[in-house]
Amino acid sequence: MVADTNIQVLRETQGRPTGLWRDAMRRMARNRAAVASAIFLALLILVAVFAPWIAPYDPTAPDFAHIREAPSAAHLLGTDEVGRDILSRIIYGARISLYVGIVVQTATTALGVMLGLAAGYFGGLPDIIIMRMVDIMYAFPNFLFAVFMVSLLKPDTTSVILTLTLAGWPFPARLMRGQVLSVKQQDYVLAARAIGTNDLQIMLRHVLPNALSPIIIQYTLGIAGVIMAEAGLSFLGIGIRPPTPTWGGMITKGREYFRSSPHLAIYPSIVLGLTMLAFNFLGDGLRDALDPRMKR
């Protein structure tokens, strides 16, 4: 009872609730770059959701009277090679690009982390099987893999997500395995075994939190790559078909006109770059917040 009241006092004086995630959120709230990034991304998602109300023009309607026009009052960011409003296309493009970027990156990371964790922690046969699969995926050219998937799937968003996820998991898996191999040698993992913690608890409570830092960075860095890869898939015919706008598609197509009308590629590139930057700041903030050693 005495101890209990002491805890109450402690909590009131020090204001320290326990829990890695709760503590992390409080630390994160103090990181300005991370908070700003979170707000930016939240706005971006709102824009994507409410695209039909925000976009000034139909993003797919061509207007052959106004081809590749420079930014003006009528078209704030100009028009593309068939006269579509670039601002509207960026706004609509956020829907698919963000969706694909986040879903694919979440799926590949989740899959990679689970497989890497199992391979690194258990070693032996699971390790051999999983890592040989990784080797096969690495040896297989991504282009060839995409062509192979094209022959199996019909072109839509789900196919894109499936293809990119299947191609993407080996990287986080290998990263995770390396982390696990070093973390599981630590005395605190041994200590956890000594007090009778089972494998699953050790993996989730001791190994995973201590192995996660590079994974978080990998996650946020990878989102932009996924958004561009989606454009590559469109080119092969399995991705999202034109005229549906995506950022990757706009950048890829806009590059053809870069000498005469650079704004076709530049504006979606800027938006993609800012988005990537925001994800990176958010990831950095999250990594620091999850490490109690990082003060402030």
């Binding site: 209990d4 007090i195 009778g196 608890q201 201590n210």
Partner: protein, 326 residues
């Protein structure tokens, strides 16, 4: 000895690590980290397992509680051979034996608070959580000399000595009977060492603990141990109670170690025996492992036949050809 049989008895413990190399990563040899080691620890007593770095003492300690799987041997804990237990049985059994680690910082998960670290075993074994768990954790914090306000702190906010106390509290949470102390003070400042050692001695009396105390520091061993076993390259070279070891060391290796302890009284200086060379990872295939560095007058047999551990007096065993079995 309070109760006839020893709490821990280890017989012919071996741990070989494969050395791989060459084509297809084949096993080309063994690193014999622990090579046929036997010892016993009476209830409530402390056995010091002493040796220099690489002598296999830590490996032996971890093998005893099967945190590392031994290659061969028998480990009797309270009469039960641990080597015959399944993993599941071992997990339950291991609660009776806990370990304190050499590096206190590395033995605590930096992402958990002190409260969470000490509460983990309570949840796993007694399904204690919430208020009950907190009360127990607070109790344990007090037992090891920490305070309530340390509950919500993270390990990196503590000094090495305090971290070691947290490790001790975690070990005590499961009410163990045997503690394997793997150089518990070698990472600490001298002033803090004494505090932690005194704490351990107090806990030993209070909770009737039996200690397997692994160390390379003979000063600390003298302070802590009832019996001492000296290891050299994976084998035990001499076992005796601590007085005998310090007053009448027999094995040339023991003699060299004892002579190297600094004396407080400058007048009482004795001649220091300086050993040549250092431990190499691989033992001589035959003969006494200590023969290449032995300062004593070697016999021919030293290079060819490995000496057995023989009892030269009641409770005093030596593995050296200079002391043949009586």
């Amino acid at each position: 000895m309070t109760n006839g049989s020893p709490l821990l008895e280890v017989r012919h413990l071996k741990k070989y690590f494969p050395i791989r190399g060459g084509f297809l990563n084949r096993r080309v040899g063994d690193l014999k980290a622990v090579d046929d080691v036997s010892f016993s620890v009476p209830r409530g007593k402390t056995l010091g397992l002493v040796g220099e770095s690489g002598s296999g003492k830590t490996t032996a300690g971890k093998c005893v509680i099967r945190l590392i799987e031994p290659t061969a041997g028998e480990i009797y804990f309270d009469g039960v051979d641990l080597m015959t237990l399944s993993d599941r049985e071992m997990r339950r059994r291991r609660l009776d034996m806990q370990m304190i680690y050499q590096s206190p910082a590395a033995s605590l998960n930096g992402r958990m608070t002190i409260g969470q670290i000490i509460a983990e075993p309570l949840w796993i074994h007694e399904r204690l959580r919430g208020r009950q768990a907190k009360e127990r954790v607070m109790e344990l914090l007090h037992v090891v000399g920490l305070k309530d306000e340390h509950y919500y702190r993270y390990p990196h906010e503590f000094s090495g000595g305090q971290q070691q106390r947290v490790g001790i509290a975690r070990a005590l949470a499961v009410n163990p009977r045997l503690l394997v102390l793997d150089e518990p003070t070698s990472a600490l400042d001298v002033s803090v060492q004494a505090q932690v050692l005194n704490l351990l001695q107090r806990l030993q009396d209070e909770f009737e603990l039996t200690f397997l105390f692994i160390s390379h520091d003979l000063g600390v061993v003298r302070h802590m141990c009832d019996d001492v076993a000296l290891m050299y390259m994976g084998v035990i070279v001499e076992v005796a109670d601590f007085e005998t070891i310090f007053e009448e060391p027999k094995h040339p290796y023991t003699q060299a170690l004892i002579s190297a302890i600094p004396e407080i009284d400058p007048a009482a200086s004795r001649e220091e025996i300086v050993l040549q060379g250092e431990l190499s990872a691989r033992q001589p295939v035959q003969g006494c492992p200590f023969a290449p560095r032995c300062p004593a007058n070697k016999l021919d047999i030293c290079e060819t036949i490995r000496p057995e551990l023989v009892e030269i007096q009641e409770g005093h065993q030596v593995a050296c050809h200079l002391y043949p079995a009586p």
